[in-house]
Symmetry: C2
Subunit: 327 residues, 2 copies
DNA sequence: ATATTTTATGAAATGGATTCCATAGCAAGC
DNA sequence: GCTTGCTATGGAATCCATTTCATAAAATAT
């Protein structure tokens, strides 16, 4: 109802003065300031932020693109983002896109439309070259390695991390190694797959396509893998060790395998990924990849971009193996 | 750069006509329409949504208040919300508040400021009477039962659901029943606590304050509870059954208890809550409380409110016991 | 006493779209 | 031949706050 003009009229000052009071600018006399504040109080006035956004060209909001929030990986990254955004007094628009490219493009269009100040892409179905042109409208930060681009990124070196895990299995004497992955396509998944295949090739280890299993998303998928491996009557037809991206999937596999009397790690070694609480509980040896820090860093970078720094940044995060008892 | 005025000038029409084209209004001749569309294409024009928000008084965005996203409960509800919002072409602003009242009030102020069209409160530290006055600025929906209020809510009947679980334990012959809860305060937690105490009193069952354990948030807390219970040398000093709000906590307890040689459910029956994937994996008997549907319903209600329906709605969701093998 | 800086204030332009209201041509109805 | 209704179009008001520019008084410096 009430607007700045009315406040000005009633307080007997100009709209400029009201705006100054609102924004804590100096050069407002004490009496006028109190007059304005009193009128604001009386009329229960607050500014219409849409008008502010229009004139300032800023909204104090950043969009976050991810496929779904209901997964350990994304909810931890999101928590890191949200924590940082809260501290910086920024708003996050959660754009859960289900990996639908059109939806993701709509979000990038929000940047053109000036609805948001920046976009953080946690995971996307879009190719980097599709994203790049949007950077002229505002800062974009990805949480995936997207090569040499005009936008910033924060990521863990999946290739190195995964190889490191494989080296660890190797050092423990394991030679027949299998591998479970989530979605087969997807940038980090294919990087991990390369790491896996390169490693086997370099070490001259046996490669059995049946030991490379995709679409392991949920706990139950891990259990299913256990059943499938146990189906093999011949023990030598089974891997000795499994590298599994996602501790929850590893947990499913372990619990199911134990049900069938398998000893972990004696009969089957299991190496997880993501350092999830369930992994800690079950004593799963895993690779911590600092998801929370990734979120924090991604927000930090976009925040800097919004406040002027225009050069793209590439930040690699550390990973480390957490030795527990499943290898 | 380019605005509607410039498009109008170059296309040789009025701004009104451009606006009509933009909004698919009828009464625009074919040639003018194409002229406008071509000019838009040429100048790579998109509208400034902040101007649209200002004049229309709508933003197409809804804020979601919750303490943290990184937990099963909240991420599932959020997923439900996000799914519904995507379908309705709405944006969700994730306001992770850490249960800090000032932050929550800031979000409600966004409603006053017209930055958002509505607020969905998944969980809050604020009392309903503090929230109520904000409903004059726009629709508010809570995911907690907040009594007779001027705003809508969607919730499961925690009291009934919890009692139902207790009845189930009772029907299986358990008499010495313990209870694990997350935060001690918090509306649904205290409702559950009442249900627990009322039930014991009515059935004349033994109540030991040591069997009522709070601050069980994480898996590890459940493991800690197991250790504490096992410390009791005397078996009759231990409960026969535990009612645990949160399957992940139940999982922690079960895994730790089994490590110490306890048989579940023979030595200790465990009933979970929330129907989480980990519960399914471990065969935990639990209560499903339709969290995803809660999110969907909450969005549905706020969407209806935004589109006119002003009467507050109260929607109760069904719950059901999922019988597995820990009771 | 004069020149300069600091403080205080407001008018008007700006950001960019939507929509009410007015006007007019043209077709159909009686 | 006259009224009513539909299609098409534009002018101007509206939404509301920020900021530049101009002006003037007061305070400080020379």
């Amino acid at each position: 109802m009430a607007n700045i003009k009315e406040i000005a009229r009633i307080a007997g000052v100009s709209v400029t003065t009201v705006s100054r009071v609102l924004n804590n600018h100096p050069y407002v006399s004490k009496d006028k300031r109190t007059a304005v504040l009193e009128t604001i109080e009386q009329l229960n006035y607050t500014r219409n932020m849409n008008a502010v956004h229009l004139i300032t060209g800023r909204t104090g909001a950043v969009a976050v693109i991810l496929p779904f929030i209901n997964s350990f990986y994304f909810s931890v990254v999101m928590d890191g983002l949200a924590q940082a955004a809260l501290a910086a007094q920024y708003r996050l628009i959660l754009c859960q896109t289900n990996y639908v490219p059109e939806e993701e493009l709509k979000v990038l269009d929000m940047l053109r439309n000036k609805e948001i100040d920046g976009v953080i892409i946690v995971s996307t179905a879009l190719n980097p070259e599709v994203i790049e042109p949007y950077t002229i409208y505002g800062p974009v930060v990805t949480c995936q390695n997207s090569g040499e681009r005009q936008f910033s990124s924060v990521y863990i070196e999946h290739y190195a991390a995964f190889r490191h895990g494989l080296e660890y299995l190797y050092s423990k004497g394991h030679r027949r190694i299998g591998y479970c992955e989530g979605r087969q396509n997807g940038s980090s998944a294919s990087i991990r797959q390369n790491a896996f295949q390169d490693f086997l090739a370099e070490k001259g280890l046996p490669f059995d396509p049946e030991w490379m299993i995709f679409d392991c998303i949920r706990e139950e998928d891990g259990a299913e893998v256990a059943r499938r491996l146990l189906d093999k009557p011949d023990r030598s037809g089974r891997p000795e060790a499994m590298m599994i991206s996602g501790d929850h999937v590893a947990a499913g596999l372990i619990i199911e395998a134990r049900k069938h009397g398998l000893k972990i790690p004696e009969d089957l070694a299991v190496m997880g990924f993501d350092n999830q609480p369930i992994g800690r509980l079950l004593g799963i040896t895993t690779i911590d990849n600092q998801l929370h820090q990734m979120g924090e860093a991604a927000f930090g970078i976009i925040h800097e971009h919004i406040n002027g720094s225009s050069l793209p940044v590439t930040r690699k995060l550390e990973y480390r193996i957490i030795e527990r008892s499943t290898v």
